[in-house]
Assembly symmetry: C2
Homo-oligomer: 189 residues x 2
């Protein structure tokens, strides 16, 4: 019994360790993406940056591409569950809160997350786009009408386009000004 | 005099040859972009594909990056002069005609121009975005209001987003159906 309990604890602990290693690896990968081109990132870079054993990497991922995949998948899931329903809500306060968070985060992290060296950002956006597409296809019925099918695309693209230009032009507006501009657009779409 | 005339003709002919070599090189580069990753394209590949002398390449461009730059620049100029004013027009027939051309071209060329291998498409879109941004900054006054500054971004992003999803979902709608969907959106923006 004692032995069983220990074995069980060990299993739980392994799972926990593994989960935390997975997340450490993903965070390390994201940090590396701000420093060098995706093509140049090696497994050695990642395990050093994450401070985990090499075996931990291969326990969680078959390749670096899978790390990117996993992050894009989680981001798409979050967008799908949290963000897209909000874009359709009539709860203006909640939408505003969420948009504030979105633009505020960008203003804090854009140097790291947006001005990422070379093509990394586009690579991530591309993978994310594919993931969102997959997830939406799964929930859409065959007879979804065109506005059901394209409405969320249009809204996300508006947000994405406005943030890109905002960043490119060195964020001259405050997040609040940007939100005041996009809120009515999102609502008419 | 005769000699002068010949010299002059020669100069004109050289200019013409040069112009046509430039355009051959750009076309060849675009074809190569559909076949291999940007990183793997060499000057040798380009001059072979374009069937021009190596010296012709270096007479026109300092590097491959400049070829991409030149194409993005011309595309941005075209968008800026032809397309963006149309998006603001009240001439619905003209806008519809232009949109038809836009979506119809996509439906004809998407395998080549959109499903480009790897990151090439995103690379091109990124460069194009920077070029459009530069050109717009040059014409915007310092006190442009926010809708002047972001309105065209929003419209272009809507078109871009809808076309991307249309392609990803194997273009189930006709160009006309897509236009009927995006026209009212563009007009309310």
């Amino acid at each position: 019994m004692n032995r069983n309990a220990t074995g069980c604890n060990k299993q739980i602990m392994n799972k926990k360790e593994n989960h935390s290693a997975k997340s450490e690896i993903e965070q390390a990968f994201l940090r590396l993406m701000t420093q060098k081109s995706y093509m140049d990132i090696t497994v050695t870079d990642i395990v050093q940056e994450a401070n985990v054993a090499r075996v931990s990497f291969y326990r969680n991922f078959a390749s670096i591409s899978e790390v990117l995949d996993s992050i894009a998948d989680a981001t798409a899931e979050k967008l799908n569950i949290e963000f897209l329903p909000l874009l359709d809500t009539s709860d203006e306060r909640k939408l505003r809160e969420y948009l504030f968070n979105y633009f505020y985060q960008i203003s804090l992290n854009y140097k790291e997350m947006w001005a990422i060296r070379g093509l990394n950002m586009d690579l991530f956006t591309k993978r994310l786009g594919e993931k969102i597409h997959e997830k939406r296809k799964a929930v859409e019925s065959a007879d979804s009408d065109i506005s059901e099918k394209y409405g969320w695309v249009v809204k996300l693209c508006v947000l994405d386009g406005v943030s890109r230009r905002w960043i490119m032009d060195e964020m001259k507006e405050t997040p609040e000004e940007i939100i005041d501009y996009v809120m009515p657009i999102i609502k008419t779409l």
